[in-house]
Amino acid sequence: MLSNILIYFVIVPILMLGGLALCRNIKQIRAVAVAGSLVLIGLSVYLLVEYIAQRGLGADAPMLFTGSWTWFEALGIHLAVGVDGVSIAMLVLTSIIIFAGSFASWKIDNPRAFFLWLILLSTGVYGFFISVDLFTMFMFYEVALIPMYLLIGVWGTGRKEYSAMKLTLMLMGGSAFLMLGLIGIYYNTEMPDGSHTWNIIEIAHQGHIDKGWQYFLFPMTFVGFGVLGAMFPFHTWSPDGHACAPTAVSMLHAGVLMKLGGYGCFRVAMYLMPEAANDLAWIFLILTGISVVYGAFSACVQTDLKYINAYSSVSHCGLVLFAILMINTTAMTGAVMQMLSHGLMTALFFALIGMIYGRTHTRDIRQMGGLMKIMPYLAVCYVIAGFASLGLPGLSGFVAEMTIFVGSFQQGMGEYLAGAGSLRLVFTIVACCSIVITAVYILRVVGKLLLGPVQDKHHLELTDATWWERLSTVTLIVSVAAIGCFPNFFTGLIRDTFSGELFEAVKLNMMNIF
């Protein structure tokens, strides 16, 4: 079991938990956090290299590094792990953001407890991404959700109790549907030998779920994950939650946790139930299409930095689900790229907002201005993040959005000309409009917050970023730029998931649309 590298993505955080429990002072705690996150980054990079190497050697299994250890054999529950390009991308993303996040929360009070919960959360995230067993997946999913309550409730600001409770209950509400969906999948999968299994790969390849059941189970799972993916109209936990959360938590939550939603949506809902996905896509296309534009529009009028960012997250994550529902390779690749890109840049945003808030003690853009003069470093980083968010070439946002738009337009136009309805086409064009609205609200913030004359004379004696803040931001900026400049590497990594064997079912289905 320990020979499988993936297990260490769970073991290392658990070891970190133990280490934190033993820590005596803040220095040791920081040391543990930084060392651990460095190890995790190392692990994920090593995994990435290994993966590419093995694919290069012609390993064509849908998932590599697979391992499966019986847990509750009576129920057929295993601790089954395995990764493909998508999960590896997510793992790398998680490691980077945890690294940046632990630096962003350098001066948090009561650091031991904070990091304990943070690491527990990341344990859940890692476990979710590596596991291919529905039960294990779901367990880690909920492990990742609950620490959020305390992290926001204890270390948060503003109406933290309300927001924390709302966030937890809404997400758990989602996972209630999810649990039903997963158990339903387990019981309604007909394996060749008539047995049931929780293993995603087996279900996707040998198993088949009766179509009638799919119509019931697909919405259950898609909505269950979609709540975490901030799908309209289940997104309202996101603004309040993000607004009240401490910096690192917003980073991790918007950066990684919301990706669990998108990831689960295709890994469970789309893969295992392609027919239903194909037939019911229109419902969710409408919802996600709405949330793309809706989030962007409502971000235009917010005055709280975190609210602006939360709504833009709604818009961007909406684009992720939207692209997944296009059911074609390019768009889905774009969706994963968008997950990466949004994860990094929104983490950057929240880090910067936290740093600015820590200095000015306000997040209201009407009370700030001309920060470019006062804290040039943070301001420049903010502008870069803004450019990434409005899709400037050379930064990650552009790549992701263009991949999505091209993919979904091909799909939509194809369907339209094939007389298969213009829904996808129309909503693609609607989604394209979001690039303009995004530009509007990003530039509005940049103009109000960073440029122009200094609003508040007291801000004049504020200081610029400290070294750990610089480190945390630079990490993120570099990754954003890396994706933006060498996209082919990442798309190549991701693409084979969608063009691979595991995706055949869905692809065939896509053809049926025409």
């Binding site: 709302k166 209950l169 809404m170 309209f232 109209p233 997104h235 309202t236 936990w237 603004p239 309040d240 809706y294 529009f297 409502s298 235009c300 009028v301 917010q302 390779t329 390019t330 001309g370 470019m372 003069k373 450019f387 409005l390 899709g391 400037l392 070439p393 050379g394 552009f398 790549v399 263009m402 991949t403 738009f405 091209v406 993919g407 337009f409 091909q410 136009m413 194809g414 000309l417 064009i429 394209c432 409009c433 690039i435 303009v436 530009a439 509007v440 530039l443 509005r444 103009g447 960073l450 440029l451 122009g452 004359p453 996209p487 082919n488 798309t491 190549g492």
Partner: protein, 668 residues
């Protein structure tokens, strides 16, 4: 041709940007300026060499035709099927031409800024290094745009020039006007780019390729095509694509019109022109480089790039080219009229820029194979070239004046001809060139444009000649008002405006010389739509007419503005409304304000935000409160009295039994 040289042309400015951007604040202003200028100088030399090789080395001419040559083409992002975004370097007449134009102007501006970006006491502007970094970024993006091998690369750099223009307009970021101007510029162009993007999507869907060479190489154009043909697929796809109807227009028409919308945004065609006048908030060298010579002609370049497609579309009865013509013509007239009434010299120049670019658009729009074998195409490229020179000259001159006087408003600067002789002469040259007076460069290019118009339709010809007249009129109005009249008292004393240091005057002189003689460049041999040399000399009939018109206009300007006199006042009272409307730019900005603020912001964004907070979120909270209310409502069940407990127990038991009995025996 090995790739290193062209590659350097792109990489050098990029390195400049990174270097100055990251380490700029550790180096002195002086050195930042020198490094930036030197870097650009090298780039210019490389560009010249490349252009020389392309045009004159003869390696790129196959049986009398200039070929399109792809120096390198690197996969960047592979999308659907063979839709692959590549970053490459395409060498063909127009890109070579643009290389020359961009690097020349850019170098001039780099040099000029060394002087411009400090005040009279030689104190440098704050953020001087940043300025140079941004200039280099812009040069990089612009060069990348013109050498794009595929439409998506063009879109990428299209966005980048937009961003760098945003940064440069907002260079004085503490000035609210500058901030809002930069924001406006970016958002308006972004809106246009939305059209561009969708256009690209449609085009790539119908043709299955991004590559210009595959897109534009097609025999459909009616005339035999000599470009390297390598994509029959694209051709057939185009036919079918042109066949597929979508909401009335053929897919191809839609694609081209939408792409042209992107061009309208960048090239400030009506009604998307509103950002350009405000963009004058940026430093004047920036206006000269970006908003006069290079970036704003990107739209023209885009149309020229896709010209074969437009022609195919025209043959198939699509309206794309006509739309280009109409938009151009309207814009040209509108901008010229507005230019006659502005007070701010940079705004006058801005509107004249809009009008001149519209000229190029029109000349592309009227260009047809049967009219002197697409004379218009060549003419518009020619005008692009000359206009870049003399408009940059005018802007830099204006910069010199502003720098000397310290105000944009020419009511503050009368009678400067004695105090600033060099500036005066060069500025005059610029005016003559743009007015189209023989032998200055403007004459030749404008003449060819008018010829093309004449060949297409008489209306276009008359209309554009009228605009040409207006051009001459407002330019000389400007000229007289600046350099003649009685000069202000304030100009005496040691603060008197005088000619600027050599860093600023040298570019003026150079550009003046170019602007004078550029007309004699044998342009027809170099740049034509299909690479064939084009030998149509000057059409003297048209030339003389337009010359007369120009001279008449100049005469009128002389009468009205030579020295202070009541004529202009009377003119104004002759058509008061026209004057006020023109003075207020026909209230376009107000219209946009209304649409964006009143409609979009107040009637869409705010309601949506409210809806989200109160309806969606309210529903979620409602679940919680309903649960709480229910829990409060049923608390009476637990009254604390044993007997009531037992009541409930008994009723429960009986209902459980009786209910089941009833259900079973009544319904089953």
């Amino acid at each position: 041709m090995e790739a290193t040289l062209p590659l350097l042309i792109l990489v050098l400015p990029l390195l400049m940007f990174l270097f100055l951007g990251l380490f700029g604040k550790f180096m002195s202003h002086k050195w930042a300026g020198i490094i930036g200028t030197a870097g650009m100088g090298v780039t210019m030399i490389l560009a010249y060499y490349t252009a020389y090789l392309y045009f004159f080395s003869g390696n790129f001419v196959e049986d009398g035709t200039r070929v399109q040559y792809i120096v390198f083409n690197q996969d960047w992002l592979s999308l659907w099927g063979n839709l692959v975004i590549k970053l490459g370097f395409l060498l063909d007449p127009i890109s070579a031409l643009m290389l020359v134009v961009i690097t020349t102007i850019s170098f001039m501006v780099h040099l000029y800024s060394n002087g411009y970006m400090r005040d009279h006491h030689g104190v440098w502007e704050t953020g001087f290094q940043r300025f140079y970094a941004f200039l280099s970024l812009f040069s990089f993006s612009m060069l990348g745009l013109v050498v794009a091998t595929n439409i998506f690369q063009m879109y990428i750099f299209w966005e980048l020039v937009g961003a760098s223009s945003y940064l440069l307009i907002g260079f004085y970021y503490t000035k609210p006007s500058a901030v809002s101007a930069s924001k406006k510029a970016f958002i308006v162009t972004r809106f246009a780019d939305l059209g561009f993007l969708i256009g690209i999507l449609i085009l790539s869907f119908t043709t299955g390729t991004f590559d210009f060479m595959s897109l534009t190489s097609t025999p459909l154009a009616g005339v035999e095509n000599t470009y390297i043909v390598d994509a029959a697929t694209a051709t057939t796809a185009l036919e079918t694509g042109a066949g597929q109807m979508f909401l009335g227009g053929s897919l191809m028409t839609w694609a081209l019109v939408l792409i042209f919308m992107g061009g309208m945004g960048k090239s400030a065609m009506m009604p998307l022109h509103i950002w350009l006048p405000d963009a004058m908030e940026g430093p004047t060298p920036v206006s000269a480089l970006i908003h006069a010579a290079t970036m704003v002609v990107a739209g023209v370049y885009l149309v020229a790039r896709l010209f074969p497609l437009f022609m195919i579309n025209d043959d198939l009865g699509g309206a794309a080219l006509d739309i280009v013509t109409v938009v151009g013509a309207l814009t040209a007239f509108y901008a010229a009229v507005v230019a006659c009434t502005q007070l701010d010299i940079k705004r006058v120049l801005a509107f004249s820029t809009i009008s001149q670019i519209a000229f190029m658009m029109v000349s592309l729009g009227v260009s047809r194979p049967e009219v002197h074998d697409n004379l218009g195409y060549m003419a518009s490229m020619f005008h692009l070239f000359t206009h870049a020179m003399f408009k940059a000259l005018l802007f830099l001159g204006a910069g010199a004046l502003i720098h000397a006087v310290g105000s944009n408003d020419y009511t503050a600067m009368h009678g400067l001809r004695k105090r600033m002789p060099i500036t005066h002469i060069t500025f005059l040259v610029g005016c003559l060139a743009i007015a189209g007076i023989i032998p200055f460069s403007g004459f030749f290019s404008k003449d060819e444009i008018l010829t093309a118009c004449f060949g297409n339709s008489i209306i276009a010809y008359v209309w554009m000649s009228m605009v040409a007249g207006l051009t001459a009129f407002y330019m000389f109005r400007l000229y007289y008002l600046i350099f003649w009249w009685k000069e202000h008292k304030v100009h005496e004393g040691h603060h008197a405006p005088k000619d600027q240091p050599w860093t600023m005057t040298l570019p003026l002189v150079i550009l003046a010389i170019v602007a004078t003689f550029a007309g004699f460049v044998p342009f027809g041999d170099l740049v034509t739509w299909n690479g064939h040399p084009h030998h149509g000399g000057i059409n003297w009939m048209i030339a003389s007419i337009s010359l007369c018109v120009a001279l008449l206009a100049i005469g009128l300007a002389t009468i009205m503005y030579r020295k202070e006199n009541p004529l202009p006042e009377r003119m104004r009272h002759l058509f008061p409304n026209l004057w006020t409307w023109a003075r207020n730019r026909f209230y376009f900005d107000e219209l946009y304000m209304f649409i964006t603020h009143k409609i979009i912001f107040n009637s869409i964004c705010k309601p949506i935000a409210w809806f989200d907070r109160h309806v969606i979120d309210g529903t979620m909270d409602a679940f919680a409160s309903v649960t709480n209310k229910a829990s409060y409502a049923i608390r009476g069940l637990q009254s604390g009295n044993v007997q009531s407990y037992v009541w409930v127990y008994l009723i429960g038991a009986i209902v459980l039994g009786g209910g089941t009995v009833a259900v079973i025996f009544l319904f089953f």
